[in-house]
């Protein structure tokens, strides 16, 4: 089971890195989102894997999964949403203002070609 999770995290990271290196803003956003999944899962995994032992106290139950990484990851998920929202708006704003959704600003960016609408 550990190998499954590890390889899933690895796969998400690889896809995230690949998409992050694309030239348009939308795949970059998707890539960063995938990396967020990977990072959140990774942080969660540092608490080690336990099945059927949620960290909700019950009488007579002794085994619980590690609550600390869970609490940290919970806020991380919400914060990654905030971050994703900000970069989506940045990408959108940049596209609307320059009519180009390339992420690299170089001399030969097709920006401004169409001039002002």
């Amino acid at each position: 089971m550990e190998m499954l999770l590890a390889s899933a995290i690895g796969g998400l990271s690889a896809a995230g890195i690949y998409l992050m290196l694309r030239l348009r803003s939308f795949p970059v956003i998707i890539g960063i989102s995938l990396l967020s999944y990977a990072v959140n899962l990774f942080l969660f995994a540092t608490g080690r894997l336990v099945v059927n032992a949620p960290p909700v106290l019950r009488k007579g139950v002794e085994t619980y999964s590690d609550p600390l990484p869970q609490a940290l990851v919970l806020t991380a998920i919400v914060i990654s949403f905030g971050m994703t929202a900000v970069i989506v708006i940045m990408a959108l704003g940049s596209y609307l203002s320059s009519r180009s959704d390339t992420v690299n600003i170089t001399a030969d960016t097709p920006a401004e070609q169409e001039g002002e609408a």
Binding site: L34, Y37, L68
Partner: protein
């Protein structure tokens, strides 16, 4: 002097030391302000802290002269060995006296030297900063503290040398001085750290007692070389001497200060300071004495052929610094005495000479010796000052320069270099000979000869204010020269501090009898005079021979370094996000590889969970979705759908691995994120074009796969082994109910144990939402907004109703249920999976459904509270809950809880954490809604109308015509 209280080993006088060091820095605050009150006031306010520091120093002087060492100790970062420790011994007293005393004269001189156009407030501020840094160096007992002051002198001298910002020479000279001395300073930091490491302490008073240990250590030579690199660059020793003449672009008061008594003497000071532990070895002798000797010769020779008065003085300074370095390098006690004595003498005559060069420049408007001559009748006072000072520099009897030069020649005469007993005395005499020649030239070519009629300006003596300072120094020159016993106590005290032991038997006197030094001295004077007589033909020869030009080499070197660093920087970081991303990823991977290769793989200590069918299916789905995402990412809608699958599997994974809270959060965030991206897709292209080359894609794939493999390996390595140390999670499990009053440990951690983190996080979330709002606003006001206003509605309009009947009705029905679920999740959060974060997301989704069905504007116009206010109220509630703990006398965010039993209902719990969670809830709702609202405001700009009715077709509406009323 409160700060002296509580520290040990110190008397009252020791408490003056930090004040002496701090006064110039404190004083530096005033000139910039006081210049408003006039130049005299400004100068007075600069002089005041200097005088005060000097007075305090003089109060300390009697004790030091009796051989006491005053100390002040204040731990600053004791773990690092960095303490604010000051000490004052004879050497420190001598240097601090020179720095403050000559500083005072320079302040007076500069008042009259600077013209009205020069910003005097700035000048005095820089001067005091520099003075403070110098005083700090000579008073420091801790070498780390000393290094701080050392770097400060490099920085403040940069400001002083570049004071005339409009002159390119000034800027270049300042940059060169900073580069050379700063680089040396860096080397010295390394050397000092090694030294401190050997000695086991960074306090000079400890290091100075460890001579044997330090010299026997294998790291002695590296430490010595690094420290000397710092000293040689600062003191302009060959081959680093080239920066000093270029620093002459500074105003003359700066040159007079930096190059007579302070900056360049810092290197000498440090060599003298370290003399007891570093000197006496063959390495020290051959490196220091040889460098000094070469510098003395080269400097003296070049000085003879310089036509610029200040350049002449600059190279003579280089030469004299070489002389002192050589004396320190000899390593004998008597040579150290001579070195200390010459430091005093050089400071007096050289400062006077620089100031008089400034007077000549100021009055005649030129410093070119070829255009001067015959000034003795026109400027008699200056002539007298220059004559005495220059003759002292030449080493003529009855002036102080003679005494120390005799001692130098005497020591040189006894020095054997590589078995050769002639080479050092011969070369030293040659240096002295050149020194005589350029000193005579200063007098003869500038002041003697016929009066000319082509001076750029009519010369005459300046006012008293300007010649008072050099005149005072010349009085000292003569006084010490005639009555050397006046200086003897100071020389004894400071030489004693340098040697760190018993002084050799000596007396400073004019007549030592017929000694070898006397013959050498006479030869030097005679030869110097002959050399000057032959100056014209020699000069022609000098000009005809090609010489290496240090500035060209330096510029070439810095240009090459700049090019190389620019090429490197642009190579890895050219402003393109993709390249940054690739560089970053590769760097992280390389660092990870290094760490991996340096360690060892631990054996598996955990039992693996068996692979069952359900997770295997989930894994397969995730991998297929991920691969599909990469393969089909150009179709953006498809990519979003696949991302939704990934998010769903991740949520299910959280459920499976016993993290219900995470699963709930993940799935609600997933919904909101997908909606957000869908909204954004309205405005950006629906597909991604193929742009990058196959090679580029292969490269990225290689990086990505390497990253994926690395992450897999790292995760697996973590998962198969147990915690290396005991985790703190057990504490949270044990105290969740007892301390936090909740059984859902994750929620208790969020709102209680780590409440402060959560508090920060909701604030960040609120800020992110406000950033989104502001960004949208900016975009809409700019070009993007105008473009949106011309948006072609029909081009992108898909078939179908905007506000379909079925959806509106369904969401209406769902709304109360969704809100109920939200409330339920919120309320049970403390004991069961749930809580403010999740409830906030669920309620936000409930609102979103209304917005999707009936349009954002329609829904929003039915809402009474703005989202900004929701965020604000949320943060405020969280803050107030935290502050409430103060009322109970507990730290911020300490929670309390209890149980209430109302008869018909079951017993239920109250906890202040609940109020905190309400704050979290409101912030999350507000932030999510504000973000989506911002996006929808873009849609409204395209001319999308606000519908009056909630749905397009309403059977209940009599006049239903199937369109929005505000219609197209």
């Amino acid at each position: 002097m409160d700060e002296t209280g509580g520290t040990t080993h110190m008397d009252t006088a020791g408490g003056f030391l930090p004040i002496i060091a701090a006064l110039p820095f404190f004083g530096a605050l005033f000139p910039g302000l006081m210049i408003q009150a006039g130049r005299n006031t400004c100068a007075a306010f600069t002089a005041a802290p200097t005088i005060l520091a000097l007075v305090l120093l003089l109060l300390c002087a009697p004790a030091v002269m009796h051989g006491e060492v005053l100390q002040f100790q204040l731990p600053w970062l004791p773990k690092l060995g960095l303490n604010v420790n000051f000490m004052l011994d004879g050497l420190g007293l001598l240097f601090a006296g020179l720095i403050l005393g000559i500083g005072l004269l320079i302040i007076l001189y500069a008042r009259f030297y600077l013209s009205r156009e020069d910003p005097m407030g700035q000048f005095y501020t820089y001067l005091l900063l520099f003075q403070g840094a110098m005083v700090g160096i000579v008073l420091s007992d801790n070498i780390l503290l000393l290094l701080v002051f050392w770097e400060l002198t490099s920085l403040s001298s940069f400001l002083l040398i570049g004071y005339w910002k409009h002159l390119p020479e000034g800027r270049q000279g300042a940059r060169m001085a900073l580069t050379v001395t700063g680089t040396g300073g860096l080397a010295m930091i390394a050397g000092m750290l090694i030294l401190g490491n050997i000695a086991g302490s960074y306090d000079l008073s400890v290091i100075l007692t460890q001579k044997e240990a330090i010299q026997a250590d294998p790291m002695y030579l590296p430490a010595l070389l690094l420290i000397l690199a710092g000293c040689f660059t600062k003191s302009a020793q060959f081959p680093f001497h080239f920066w000093l003449p270029h620093a002459m672009a500074a105003p003359t008061p700066v040159s007079a200060y930096l190059h007579s008594a302070t900056m360049v003497k810092a290197g000498l000071f440090l060599m003298a300071r370290m003399w007891p532990v570093l000197a006496g070895t063959p390495e020290w002798f051959y490196i220091v004495a040889t460098t000094g000797l070469i510098t003395m010769l080269i400097g003296a020779k070049i000085a003879l052929f310089k036509d610029d008065l200040k350049a002449l003085l600059a190279f003579s300074t280089v030469s004299h610094l070489g002389l002192i370095t050589m004396l320190l390098g000899f390593g004998t006690k008597m040579a150290a005495v001579a070195a200390v004595f010459h430091i005093i003498n050089h400071a007096t005559f050289k400062a006077a000479l620089f100031m008089s060069a400034g007077i000549v420049d100021h009055e005649t408007h030129t410093r070119d010796i070829k255009r001067l001559g015959g000034l003795r009748h026109l400027m008699p006072i200056t002539f007298v000052i220059v004559t005495f000072a220059a003759l002292s520099m030449a080493g003529i009897p009855l002036l102080n320069g003679f005494l120390s030069k005799e001692m130098m020649l005497e020591e040189a005469a006894h020095t054997v270099w590589q078995g050769n007993q002639w080479i050092v005395p011969t070369l030293a005499t040659l240096g002295a000979l050149f020194s005589v020649a350029y000193s005579f030239r200063y007098i003869v070519h500038v002041f003697w000869g016929p009066v000319r009629d082509d001076y750029p300006s009519k010369p005459h003596d300046p006012g008293f204010g300007m010649w008072a300072a050099p005149a005072f120094l010349v009085v000292l020159v003569v006084a010490i020269g005639v009555a050397p016993f006046l200086a003897e106590p100071l020389v004894r005290a400071s030489a004693g501090a340098v040697i760190g032991g018993a002084l050799p038997e000596f007396h400073l006197k004019i007549w030592h009898g017929v000694t070898p030094a006397l013959f050498l001295s006479a030869a030097a004077v005679l030869g110097g005079a002959i050399l000057l007589a032959l100056h014209a033909p020699l000069m022609r020869h000098w000009l005809a021979t090609p010489r290496p030009e240090a500035k060209t080499m330096f510029d070439g070197l810095t240009r090459a370094a700049t090019r190389a660093s620019r090429a490197f920087t642009n190579g890895v970081h050219n402003g393109a996000l993709t390249r940054n991303g690739a560089t970053f990823t590769v760097t992280v991977l390389a660092a990870g590889w290094l760490a991996w290769a340096g360690g060892e793989t631990l054996p598996a200590t955990r039992e693996m969970l068996p692979i069952t069918a359900l997770p295997a299916i989930g894994w397969l789905l995730l991998i297929v979705a991920t691969v599909g995402l990469v393969a089909f990412h150009r179709n953006r809608f498809l990519a979003l759908m696949l991302m939704g699958i990934v998010g769903l599997i991740v949520s299910l994974g959280f459920v499976y691995f016993s993290a219900p809270d995470l699963a709930l959060t993940q799935i609600s965030v997933e919904v909101v994120t997908i909606i957000l991206l869908l909204l954004a897709l309205n405005f950006i292209p629906r597909t991604t074009p193929v742009e990058s080359s196959p090679a580029r894609r292969m490269r990225d794939a290689a990086i990505a796969i390497a990253g994926g493999v690395a992450v897999t390996g790292l995760t697996y390595a973590i998962l198969i082994s147990d915690f290396a140390f005991e985790s703190i999670s057990a504490f949270h499990l044990a105290n969740s109910y007892k301390g936090g009053g909740g059984t859902n440990v994750v929620n208790v951690i969020l709102v209680d144990f780590r409440g402060f983190d959560t508090y920060g996080e909701i604030i960040v979330l609120g800020i992110a939402a406000l950033v989104i709002f502001a960004l949208t606003d900016t975009v809409l006001k700019g070009r993007g907004g105008r473009w949106l206003a011309n948006w072609d509605q029909d081009k992108y309009r898909a078939a179908g109703d905007r506000h379909p009947l079925m959806m509106v009705v369904a969401t209406r029905v769902m709304m109360p249920i969704a809100l109920m679920v939200g409330a339920f999740i919120f309320l049970r959060g403390h004991n069961e999976p749930g809580g403010g974060f999740i409830a906030g997301l669920i309620v936000a989704i409930a609102f979103l459904m209304q917005y999707m069905a009936s349009g954002f504007a329609w829904a929003e116009s039915r809402q009474r509270v703005t989202y900004h206010a929701t965020i604000g109220v949320g943060v405020l509630i969280a803050s107030l809950t935290g502050l409430g703990a103060w009322l109970a006398g507990k730290p911020f965010l300490t929670s309390a809880y209890g149980y209430i039993h109302l008869p018909p209902i079951e017993e239920f719990e109250w906890a202040t954490a609940m109020a905190f969670d309400t704050g979290v809830f409101l912030t999350v709702v507000g932030a999510v809604m504000l973000a989506l609202n911002s996006l929808s405001s873009m849609a409204r700009r395209t001319g999308e109308t606000v519908n009056i009715f909630p749905m397009d077709i309403n059977p209940a509406r009599a006049d239903a015509d199937g369109t929005d009323e505000g219609g197209k």
